[in-house]
Symmetry: D2
């Protein structure tokens, strides 16, 4: 059983070390989640159980990979940003992409009952994953802005699409036809005139997606006091935390915060300067 | 909310199409499974529940990816071989590696209760995954031989190591010391003299690992009759199926067969000519 | 002058080792040779001085890189085939591509006067270069067939194109218009009817391009005797060497042979079995 | 002669597009120039004909590739820096590396007689070439500092090494032994005490290597007047141009300037702000 004569096959493995001094984004995407959502009767257009489960899984990833400085999720996708100087897995692209995605997937199944209760999972889902490098802070912010703009555009469309079906009894085809060629302003007006909905009053979770950041240590030590103080800054990003974050802060994993705020403008980045300049 | 001005960030994604006309191997490995095994009280040196769960998860992957022609598993690793001409995911390395590993991981958690019963999973596990290309049939066979030789070497060592601990009350350090520098023949002799064990009589599952192949369609249609006929070929690879395969054949997923046979020699490859020459 | 604090920049270099057990083709192409040919009054459609200079430069490359087993050139391009097992430059793609192309380019300039005499080179030319991997012998032969088929197609077209200009006084635009949409058979007929040219009687150098192979050592030792014997095999590939090869054989670099024969069919490969199976 | 059935081989070519928004450095290195220098009797430790020919070849490259913003050369190597936003060859690594190196090599041979006169080139030289990406301005400056520090270290060593041989009649082995383990300060002292040489007074070309930058357009239009004005800034980087640059400025290619100045400190970069921020 000469092992050595087969060992040469290791030489066929390739190195895939990522360029140093670049932000590393690992983005995971649900595979065939249209079908998965239907099978499991996801509520349309936004199933908060599913969104919470996604964020819970993302938090598991962040707890494992300490070099992730911010994560952003919407729908069935999540992006994880590793700090520029990370040496996790020696910056090997496949190691990063596969460890993140498999932990996310196993966590998604592991935590399913907590969010879906008696709704049994019918089959295990798959996710794909990729690494992308961004050399500058601006590139990284533009990447995150791209994902959040995508969240907004999809949510505005989906909100209209499902309102027309659920409340006006249109078929999916009719609803699609009705929305064809409409601009954002048209959709806002449609929601307001036909459904008396002010889009901007819809839950920030749906409109902005979810941002996961690490809570500074000092904030953790101050506990509830610090929390109440922060809530007074209603004009700032920190004030718009979702309820799940608040309770999370008191739990055994207090160091990751869920936000549903704008990350395209400047405010967020001045509120959280450590993200782009991690110590 | 100008989406377009951010879209340029897509250009930072890289193409990673794999060379055509090569065997694509996707190998997944458990991350930190030493700790995972301890936490969940895996039986040593081989926990058949865990091995069966690994193979069950691998079967889920093979059911999803029809271009996988053979899989090989041992311990906490599994290798999936895509046929040379596959165009799955347009041969993109990251797509293949991440979809396979995330489906494996979510299936592992999904099927856990079936194999571990009331032993609750304590935390979701991660796996890493990589793609490796093998240009020739010989290279591919040598790769599989490498993994099976590895299985043998580890199992022989582990069998001795745990026997010394479990039956001679050595500490792990003492057991390790006892085995230091021994050859295969020394370990075989140790097992025989001190434990009256003929290594070759130990379960093939432990010594050979698990091979998953697709059962030809005709065999499926013939059902039990064909099965009994095959079992008469005791000298051939087909005769050494594990029990889990037999029951599997009658289930709703009859087309994947579990084998625990030698794949280093010629016999297996003449028994299964379609693997290297898929239609 | 602390050198060390800058040395970290070396880590930004990437590894580009090519997959083992594949044929490595390095193909070089003249950059902007339309203009280069015009500037230096290349004879149309085939300038034999230029073709000979290309082959001379390719021979210099083959003398330097002993693992090149065959080269093929036509027009302003040349392909160099490294044997599958080569370990030249540790199979690093950029090393192979750049060393080959720079030696080719410097040799092209170095040997220019020998072929162009008093026609001075007006400016130094550039070439690009790439590496391509071919896993199987069939893939490699198909690659070489692709280039020779390209040679044929271009030469047939160019022969017609320039005949119409040079002997029928058409403008380039008129000539192009005349040939638009014609099939190979149309062009053969055109040459025969209007110019009494049997395309197949045109020089093999123009129709087949140039193949460079290494002459077996035994043939070298036998010298002229062996040569005359070979010339009797007029039906075989070996019989169709160009004159430049014959004289070359007696020179100080007797081991590279220039051929202008078909490499798409089987004959060539049975005449030169060592190319695909180098010792 | 069905071309199409072979065309599939094009699919084996790989894409190698470089990450956007990074500085692209193409560094070329002479292959086996120890032997080339000996064959052509290069003057030791610095042959100014050879250094000038290298810079002349580098200028040819810069004239062809307008997106090169700065080049740095020493000994038998040259680095070319493409601006971050360049789209030359669609940022394909192999295209950039091979076009640059082949043009450099052919230019080196083409211009040889201008610098070496009646010393005939004995054989055509090869160069290798690689692309390296640097995400930040600091990384790029550190890269250039690395090369210039290397120039200094080598030149200090070589100056001592050859002085000991040429003036003290040491053998190469003795000279090497004499310098073993010495620090920079030791070598400076050696030169001063034994040869009355103040290292800092040696030609800047030898100590600093050669920097090629593009002269601003306005400077070109002002011609000699502007030139004389610049020479008064003797404290600044611009004042230390080599003679070859001065004459060059009046020639037909007035837009590339040769400098032999420090590029590790801040002065150079404030003198040439356009390099890091090209318009």
């Amino acid at each position: 059983m000469a092992k050595s004569k087969f060992e040469y096959v290791k030489q066929f493995e390739t190195e895939d070390k990522l360029l140093p001094n670049c932000w590393i984004v690992v983005r995971i995407d649900g595979k065939g989640f249209h079908r998965f959502a239907e099978t499991h009767n996801y509520i349309k257009p936004n199933d908060e159980r599913a969104l919470d489960l996604m964020s819970k899984s993302a938090e598991t990833v962040m707890e494992e990979f300490k070099d992730i400085v911010i994560s952003y999720g919407q729908s069935d996708e999540y992006s994880f940003v590793f700090r520029k100087a990370t040496n996790a897995y020696n910056r090997r692209a496949s190691k990063l992409a596969t460890n993140v995605v498999s932990l996310f997937a196993s966590s998604f199944v592991f935590n399913w009952p907590r969010y879906f209760g008696t709704t049994m999972m019918q089959y295990p889902p798959a996710f794909d994953s990729r690494t992308v490098l961004y050399p500058s802070d601006k590139n990284l912010r533009d990447y995150l802005s791209w994902r959040q703009a995508d969240c907004h555009i999809n949510n505005l469309y989906n909100t209209c699409f499902w309102k027309l079906i659920q409340e006006k009894n249109l078929t999916p085809a009719q609803s699609q036809e009705r929305l064809k060629g409409t601009m954002s302003s048209d959709k806002n007006e449609l929601l307001f005139k036909e459904f008396e909905i002010n889009y901007n009053n819809l839950p920030a979770l749906h409109r902005k997606g979810t941002i996961l950041v690490r809570t500074p240590k000092t904030s953790m030590e101050n506990g509830d006091l610090d929390l109440s103080l922060q809530l007074q800054h209603t004009g700032s990003a920190r004030g718009q935390r979702s309820r799940s974050t608040l309770s999370n802060k008191r739990s055994s994993r207090p160091n990751i915060e869920r936000l549903h705020v704008d990350i395209i403008g400047e405010q967020f980045w001045s509120d959280y300067p450590d993200i782009l300049n991690p110590k």
